[in-house]
Symmetry: C2
Amino acid sequence: MPETYRAEIRQLDLFADMEDSNFETLMRGTYVQTFPPRIDLITEGDPSDFLHIVLSGSVDLFACWNGRETSMATVRPVSTFILAATIREAPNLMSARTLEKSRIALLPSEDVRAVFDTDGAFARAIVRELAQCYRTVVKNTKDLKLRTSLERLANYLIRHSARAASSEFELNMEKRRLAAFLGMTPENLSRAFKGLEPYGVKVSGSNISISDPDDLARFAKPDLLIDDYST
Amino acid sequence: MPETYRAEIRQLDLFADMEDSNFETLMRGTYVQTFPPRIDLITEGDPSDFLHIVLSGSVDLFACWNGRETSMATVRPVSTFILAATIREAPNLMSARTLEKSRIALLPSEDVRAVFDTDGAFARAIVRELAQCYRTVVKNTKDLKLRTSLERLANYLIRHSARAASSEFELNMEKRRLAAFLGMTPENLSRAFKGLEPYGVKVSGSNISISDPDDLARFAKPDLLIDDYST
DNA sequence: CGCTATGTTGATCCATATCAATAAGTGTGG
DNA sequence: CCACACTTATTGATATGGATCAACATAGCG
C-alpha cells in the first residue's frame, strides 16, 4: 500500500494515538481500491468483513425494506463506516455504494477486533468515534420525528449554508437522494423548495441561494441539539 | 452505598471486566437515589454531569423541539443512559424522566472519563455498549423511514410477543407513550389497533392477543435487520 | 366518589404519497 | 460534436395516511 495512503489513515482520529506496531498489524492486511461510481460495496445483512475508510470520493449508506429504499447517510473523506458492525461482529445494517469514483481502504474486521482487544488507545478512539456516530443518529431521529418535511429541508439548507460559510452554495448530492435522506419523495422535495420561496430560498439546478437567512431561520428554528453536528 | 447495589452494577457488562481499583474509584463518587414516578432526571441541553444507571423501575428518554415532544426510548434495569454525552463531554441530546418509582445510580461523568482514559477493559466495554446503542438507533431510523405507522405497530407487537414468548401479553407502557415512540398520535394509534384487527390482533386495555401470528407476520414482514434487538 | 388524565370515536383538514405527463439534464456512441 | 437514450427533476391531479379538533368514555387515584 502506498505510503501516502498509510499516512492519511494514520492521521485519522481513530488511528492517531495507537501503538506503531498495532498500526502496522492493521495495515498489513489492508488494501486500497478505487471504485467507479455507483458500485455496491456492501449489502445490508452481509457479515462485516472489512472496516471501510473513504479516502476520496463519497459513499451513500442506504437501507431497504419490502421494496422501499431510503438513504441513511453520506460518508465523505476521510472517515470510516460500518465500525459498529465490525466491533460487534454483527451483520451490516446498511448497504453502501459509491456515489462517485472513490478510493476506499479495506481493513479486515478480524484484525480491527484483534487490535482493539489489546490496544487501549485504539479502543478509546473507537469509543469517541462511536459516541459521535450515535449522537448523529439521535439528532437525525429527532429531526425526523419532531419536524415536518418543510422544516427538515429548511434546517438542512441552513446547516449547509453555515458549512459553506455563504448564503449561496451548491447541493452536493442529487435531489432524489436528498429527498430520501430527508425522508420524503422527490416530488415532495420539489414542492418543498417552492414552499421555502417565501422565506427567500432560491433554487436553480443544484445552486441554492438564501436571500434572507434570518427570515429562513425564524421559520426553521435551528437547534443546537438537532442541527449541530460538531458535538 | 449498599453492597447489593455495588454488586449489581459490577455485574453489568460495562463494569464486569474493569480493574478492581478503578471500579472502586468509580463507586466512591457514585450515589444511588430513589425517585418517584414522573420525575425529570435530565433535561436535554444540560451538561452530562452523571452517567445514569437504572437499577429498578424505568425511565423514558424523550426529546422536544418547538413545542412538540416525542419519546425516543425506554430504559429498563439494569442499563445505563447518556453514555455518549458523558464520553464526549457534550450536552445531553435527550431528556429523561422516571416512568415509575425508580432506583437510579449516578456516576460523576468526570470519574467515568478519568477511568475510561486509563482502563482499557472499561474502554472496550464502553465500545461494545455504544456500538449496541448505535445499532439500535439505526434500526429505529429504518423502522421510521421505511414503514407506515400500521407496519411499525404490527412489528412492535410481534417483537413483544416474541419477548413474552406468548401470543398474549401486556403492553408495558401507556398507549400515549407507545404512540409517541412509534411516531404517531394517540388517536392514530387507536385506529391502528383497529386496523390490525383483520390480522387477528385483539386489544382490551393493555392486554394484547394475537390470534394468528403467521397472518400478522405476513402483513408486518418483520426483518432481522430492523426488529432484532439482540445484535 | 368524583376528579383528572388517558383512551376512544367521529368529523374534518392537511401533509405527503402516488400516478401521470412533461421538461431538463447527462452521458454515450456514432 | 451532435443526436439519441436514459435518468433525474418538475408540475399537475388525485388519493391517502395521519394530524387535528371535538366530544365522550373510561380508568386510575386521591
